[in-house]
Symmetry: C2
Subunit: 331 residues, 2 copies
DNA sequence: GCAATTTCGTGCAACCTTGCACATACAAGG
DNA sequence: CCTTGTATGTGCAAGGTTGCACGAAATTGC
């Protein structure tokens, strides 16, 4: 009953094919010095026995061909877009992706765990880690950071949306429609938010309404925000710029519950242009930062790193505003 | 420049502590036969050198203490609830969780990859694999299935919502309000959906409106559904029961866009009671199947398995209807 | 005080793979 | 026919850990 089905190893394949196990290894790695005949024979045996290499053993010796992706949570659908990009970039490569979610275990723990599992490299999304911690991690393992733009990284690559531009786009759009009292709901942690706030502030200054510069920060994406939104709406802003769509949806909900019309009483703008924005009940204006592009680029950078690049690289992508009813004050 | 910072190994810890490396291993595994003094000394060295065991090497020999979780996609927030449950169940155990997303790579590939990575066990969520495939996988590695209820599993455990009950709850609720023409939007793949459909059908029969039993199935959660929803709404059902909240939100969007009032013209009910249901713009009636409980139970079962249990176990959780405005026809 | 038992540590094989150094065979060049 | 070269395959160490078998010392029993 306890048929703990022994794994088929490279050795058994070798025996079956009647060659040395080194030869099998060569075929697997398609290394130099194997005749077509041998390759054929080995491949047949592999298929016959249903062999697949043990990643742990492989990782112990050289590369594991597994890369880790660390997300801050799994509730934000924008992260799904990023992952789509990562997956498709990995499509024609020998690499596999594995994901971890911070939030429960800490980000440092998770990163360490991934190093322990012999991952070849890590993509860290919207990390709350300090510049110092990132530098440290980057020294230990090839690292690409998404959504966090420290001044001058020396040990890792970054891919970011131009968050400053995001903020300015939104404010410019709202200002053009006459809005002056524009509030922002932001987030404490990733430094990308600081950039977005900067864009907001600059936009407000250009707009001549710097006096209303109201930024409210939450520690992280969570339900607890509600009370903050309540308080914010009581100040009666003409518009609210939310750091992500999910918060914007909540803001819409709250505005409606308080009898405010959208966009007449309060215009609302989100960020990320996730799928739900297009739903009629939301019809949310949002800044599109193609998550897929971001994921794609990050993966490209990481693979380049793994192939040997040593200098750091930074990619900045340009956002694009998608206007919908939630901010179309004058229809 | 290429300071590929060598990992600290168990050997260096041993040297630092002035003991054999086997002794260090004993401390790590807190095995029998270590004095407090030695334990102390080793732990100090571990901390001093910042040592952490190499999981790959560990996995090569015995258990890796990593379990894999396979999700069908990462867009459904209900999965986040499940993961929360899994994480908290893992909290006080030595196990770590790692996640993979099917959809790009196939589920079988992913499962195989996890076996290759020496994971100790796997939790498979809403898998589309056949009973046969599951049985096969279960024979190779400890396996718990969530959201898929094959007749009589022999090699794996299952945790499920009572989906039949879900369907009946919904129909009973709608029927009580006088609805007769109730449609259902379902999904092809996991067998759990068949159960939910069964509940719907039984409910419709009890309700005396079996003649309208309209079930529309999509291959998987995706945008493409839209056309199907259009067609369905044209049949003018009094209510639509959607297999998950996301589809319900889309249905709401479509109904609104077509000038239908909710719930007067068409009532809408979702499933999973995800966070967005409570938003004012959705206010979606939904069946609550505590994802957290499901994740918790699945993890418990898996750990029991890893600790040696051999008989299969099946857990069935009872759902609960949460009524909101989207189905409150007579306010 | 000697044997028996317990407690604490050490030695070493095994896990499965990679990748280099090496052996063999066969062809071509002189 | 011997030398050199190339193509193909084999042998083996190494990688970091676990866990068992085994010594050595300390404790106990009588």
């Amino acid at each position: 009953m306890k048929t703990k089905t022994k794994r088929v190893t490279i050795l058994e394949v070798a025996k079956d094919a009647g060659v040395s196990f080194s030869a099998v290894s060569k075929v697997l790695r398609n290394a130099y010095g194997v005749s077509d005949a041998l390759r054929e024979r080995v491949n047949t045996s592999i298929k016959k026995l249903g062999y697949s290499p043990n990643m742990a053993a492989r990782g112990l010796r050289g590369r594991s061909f597994v890369i880790g992706v660390v997300f801050p949570d799994m509730r934000n659908p924008f992260l799904a877009d990023i992952f789509t990009g990562i997956s498709s970039a990995l499509q024609r490569t020998p690499y596999q992706a594995v994901r971890g979610i911070a939030g429960h275990s800490s980000e440092t723990d998770l990163t360490q765990a991934m190093i322990d599992m012999q991952m070849d490299g890590i993509i860290l999304v919207s990390s709350g880690l300090s510049h110092e911690q990132l530098t440290d991690s980057g020294a230990r393992i090839p690292l690409v950071i998404i959504g966090n733009r420290p001044p001058a990284p020396t040990t890792f690559d970054t891919v970011n949306n131009n968050d400053e531009q995001s903020g300015r786009l939104v404010i410019a759009h709202l200002a053009k429609q006459g809005a002056k009292r524009i509030a922002m709901l932001s987030l404490e942690s990733p430094t990308a938010m600081r950039m977005r706030e900067r864009g907001y502030t600059m936009g407000m200054e250009e707009n001549g309404s710097a006096h209303f510069g109201t930024i409210m920060r939450a520690p992280k994406l969570s339900r607890g925000l509600y009370s903050g939104i309540e308080a914010l709406l009581e100040k009666r802003p003409e518009a609210v710029f939310c750091w992500c769509d999910e918060v914007a949806f909540e803001t819409i909900s709250h505005a409606r519950a308080n009898g405010l019309r959208i966009p007449e009483d309060v215009a609302i703008v989100g960020h990320d242009n996730t799928a739900y924005c297009a739903l009629d009940q939301n019809s949310l204006t949002s800044v599109d930062q193609s998550g897929e592009q971001i994921g794609l680029n990050a993966t490209k950078l990481l693979i380049e790193r793994l192939e040997g690049r040593r200098e750091c690289e930074q990619i900045l992508l340009q956002p694009r505003l998608v206007v919908r009813r939630s901010s179309t004050i004058h229809a």
